[in-house]
Symmetry: T
Subunit: 67 residues, 12 copies
């Protein structure tokens, strides 16, 4: 049977939560392969001079362990 | 006094969480009427070849029970 | 050391959760200064005639207390 | 062995949470039989002109599946 | 689009949770207008000489920000 | 400094959650003294023949440890 | 894109939690098709004469909505 | 109306979670009577030399208070 | 009966969580009176050059509303 | 296999959360033996005249049941 | 004093949750040593043709960091 | 935009929770660089001969991914 590991990544974006998720997955893809799904754990962001300047999404990414 | 029921739907979208919510509500609208609000319960997604290919949002949809 | 306060605001938008967050922050900026970050607490929305007409996001906004 | 299903209903009342629960159960009884228990999931309410005008209780109702 | 703020109030009553909620809303009404809904966050109480002497309900009250 | 213990009791009532809390506290008072506060942990109930026949409230009761 | 619904079922078994899950899924299969996954929500059980006589598992079952 | 108390026990087993629950209930039965139900609160376990050597289940056990 | 409000403050300290709580309460005391209790909501901190440089504690502070 | 019970104690201290935990454990040691671990469940405190006068920590204490 | 790290693994099994836990621990043992305990975080599973075909358990595994 | 990873570490100390956090961060610093913040996830401890002998704090540590 398959086994998966999960890692936790915080992606950021200037425009939306969806873009922040994509950034997190893109980064994770540099060190792990066979990524299969993500789970949104937390959504936050930074404010500067009264404006939202960064959307931050913590995702848990599940990937298959290779034999 | 009004009474409402809630059902739980998972909508999916290739582009964003907001679109996934809309897809869930559109589907729910085929079988229930008088929908009034939704609550986001969970946000996940699928990854393939290192890229996010699907945003999945579980929503609870509240609708008025008709007399 | 710095001290921060948090207030809870519900922003709304017709298009996305990210826009609803921005609306909440813009409103908060009218009465508090030195806002530093936000945390998404709840995501809901309104449905009318079978369509999503409003995205609602409750955010906690942290701002620095001025000396 | 017995099997149960759960449905989620929002009952409302002008006077108390207990009455809102009873309203939810009464409504559920129109479409399901052999209801066995309820669990309070959420308690909210509406305010108008500075006064509480509605108590709203979300209950999960468990009922036995008939053979 | 409308914007709402939430404040957190603890109402108390000698008789029931519903009365404690009403007391919280009545107090909040002295300083904020356009209150729209409440959410029950916590239910506690005080005991003295072996008897319940106070029901305490923490509610979050949402009110519309005026333009 | 004072030390407290907490015990968990399920009180029941035919009429309301407040009465169920009082029943739990009354029972606890038979075996412990110096009860100081209660916290509502869970609210459930029993349904029979389509009607709510019992409100059940689980409370945690805090009482001072006697020297 | 695919849409899923979730229903909540309580399965029971005399021997284990895994058997209770299977019972819940078997029952659900009588009324819905294209079931895809389950999520364990709660694990409880009944005791009689000092012995565990029933394992009860509440599962949320996700199934694909057919076009 | 009936009143129940709850106690929290950690049962252990070398083979499964279900056996750990049974062990907890068996032990509780030595000091309390009229046990009625259990709720699984936590599932953990011990690992030694790379192998699971113990399943640990924390259960809350409800029992009727005798008149 | 008494009514309380709660506000949310983030206190910081270079040495411990307890000091961070005290800092939050001291700051709150500049704008509200009759503070009665605090609840720890979140504990975080900042790291710089591999060392903890700040303990951050979010507390909810309850204070009595004056007549 | 070993069986453990858990009890819930609120320890208090004028100086820190760690001291409050120690006070809770010291008190518990008067009535139970073979205590093995504690879990922090809640951290609160009392404020008087604008100052923190008491740190309160609720701990669950696990102890081995003696044969 | 000892320091531990935790990693998150999803084990799967065709027969039971306990077997899925063992599979996760066995896999983790290939890359880390001195594993000490596991915590069950989530229990899910896959359904195919109306039958449970896979039990999936997410566990957090704690292991001692070697000096 | 910046990307962060989170790892989970359990630090221990004989004296306080703050020291246990510092121990966790010190250990993490041996294998990762650019640590930015920590979040307290769990606070537990060990008891021996009726005394607290170890404070254990699980922290999630966020660190910047280097380009």
């Amino acid at each position: 049977m398959a086994i998966y590991k999960k890692i936790e990544i915080v992606g950021t974006s200037k425009t939306s939560f969806a873009e922040a998720v994509k950034a997190a997955v893109a980064e994770a893809g540099k060190s792990v392969r066979k990524m299969s799904w993500f789970e949104v754990v937390e959504q936050r962001g930074a404010i500067k001079d009264g404006k939202v300047v960064e959307f931050q999404v913590t995702v848990r990414i599940g990937f298959k362990v290779e034999d």
